[in-house]
Amino acid sequence: MKADVRPRTHDKSRFTPHLFPPPQAGEGKGGGLRLAGAAEYVVIPALALAAALAVFGIFVALFGKDPAALYLYMYQGAFGTWFSWQNTLSRAAPLILTALCTALPAQLGLVIIGGEGAFLVGALAATSAALALPAAPPFLVQLAMALAGMAAGGAWIAFSGALQHYRGVNETISSLLLVYIALAVLNQLVEGPMRDPSSLNKPSSHEIGAANMIGTIPGLDVHWGLAFGIIAAVLAYILIFQTVFGFAARVAGGNVRAAKVVGLGVGRLILIACFLAGAAAGLAGMFEVAAVQGRANANLAAGYGFTGILVSFLARHNPLAIIPVAVLLGGINASGGLLQRRLGLPDASVLVLQGMIFISVLASETLYGRFAIFRRGG
């Protein structure tokens, strides 16, 4: 009759304050105050990013590399030329979609980190759809691939959400376990039933066919995934901030008991949000197959799902902010090759920098509401 039978909720508002910025002094009042509050959400992450870059500079200096050259090559590799811009944008496209996989459930207070798993099963399902329709016109094949990828990815993450809601299984751990399971399924299928016998060194599925490949956006050497990523992010923003569903989700994320009192079906909210989240990552996997790889193999597990977690946290789970942040992180990824060639840094240096940015951004959570400058005005 005591502690052990406490009602179990997923009310995380008490211990995940960073997921939901508490209502700021001026929210919903004067425009000036709101602007000052918004500035806080730009300035503090920017400071955190700068701090991480500075620490990374010191880190490479310890290995005898010139930090000034590091920053120069990073800029050149990411945004220095038209070519590097296109490289950056190509990498940003999947990141927008995988970031949504963390950002949408975050509105409900769920910490989903399994975007990589949804990405992989989405890619697998999309490949299977294409291989199942050998004679269909390309448009139909691509549509089937997108639907299959989104359905598979959505189901993958919705499963995590359902386990959280109906069985009380921690969604962070379950979604990460599902990444490893998805990876095993991918390896099993491309080495077994789906294997193209002519792929000797790198077991792969059959190719989806050149006719079915998705091309690039006119005038850019960037595939259509970028456009769909931006559309998805805008739709997610509208869903969260302009619709009753989004309002209900944010209420449930802030206080699950209050949500139940006003009669919100929390389980339904969780399932829908998680399905949409996984669908976004699954769509990213579909584009990786249909616009980049052309077949399913172990190359698909390139870590877009994991970087997406960082993008979502850096954007404070705001779908519109995800777009520029994904471009930024895409730029960092894109510059990795140049750092390898010019400075002789290992390819993992991008991972180190990402880790530093992640830690720095989380540590900066403690700064919100501490600066008077963001409270004045209006």
């Binding site: 995940t16 962070t172 751990i173 990460l176 490893y180 960082l310 991972l351 180190v352 540590a363």
Partner: protein, 306 residues
Amino acid sequence: MADVGWWVVPVAVLGGALRVSTPFLFVSLGECITERSGRINLGLEGILVMGAMCAYGTSYLTGSPWLGVLAAGAAGALLGLVHATICGLPRVNDIAVGIALMLFGTGLAFYLGKPLIEPSAKILPAINFGWWSDVPQVRAALQINVLFLIGVALAPVLVWALATTRWGMILRTVGESADAARAMGYSVNGVRARATMLGGFLGGIGGSFLSLYYPGSWNEGLSSGQGITAVALVIFARWNPMLCFWASLLFGGAAALGPALQSIGVNQGYYLFNAAPYILTLLIMIITCSPQRTLIGAPAELSITR
């Protein structure tokens, strides 16, 4: 089919359980300590990889695998300190910091470990408990590493220490009620920092086993999720170090299933059998968790069970 019989499989699974369970054991004991203080460190996955790299590097440079084990522990404790320092700041969430540490630790290990993929380092010794048998499979199964024995001894010691020592009581007080601990004059953040560092130390040692005994080399695919599985294992073991030991054996056995079947020529479903620990973890969590109540034995301050 090979000329050996099916009976080899249970023997190989048992031997694999004794071998493969060691990282699970150390990481889960470490995480157990951290979680009993009311904080969860998901970064143990990164700590495990970092520990594996440091152990291998140190053993390669000094020629002493035991120095490698110590270096792995130190690296783990250091990363634990990073986790604890950031979580000690107000309004910072421990789960998120753990995710960040997971990515950071893995990245850092890959960065620093790049030159270590080629060279071979001196690995840890094993004691041969299978001398009485003529069957090579039994002998192989009973090659038991000293680290495993240390882990086995550590589990009951931790049970005793948590239950009866002053240190254990302070740790549990902080984990059950931070307010009560504060009222008694203990620093909640300080105790949690020490618990996280100790957890990181053990997690790092778990990693050293991977690179210095089984599989016994350093590469970037060395750990794939053992750390996070071990975190889930602590929940399954109800935050009890002795149960952590039995759960580690179970998970080790599950992880050994794939290689054991492969050894008798069953190659079908190899990858799926390798995913057995993750599937097992998920199933166990589905069966044992409940949405209606907090888990029995859960530290009251722990965020994932509240």
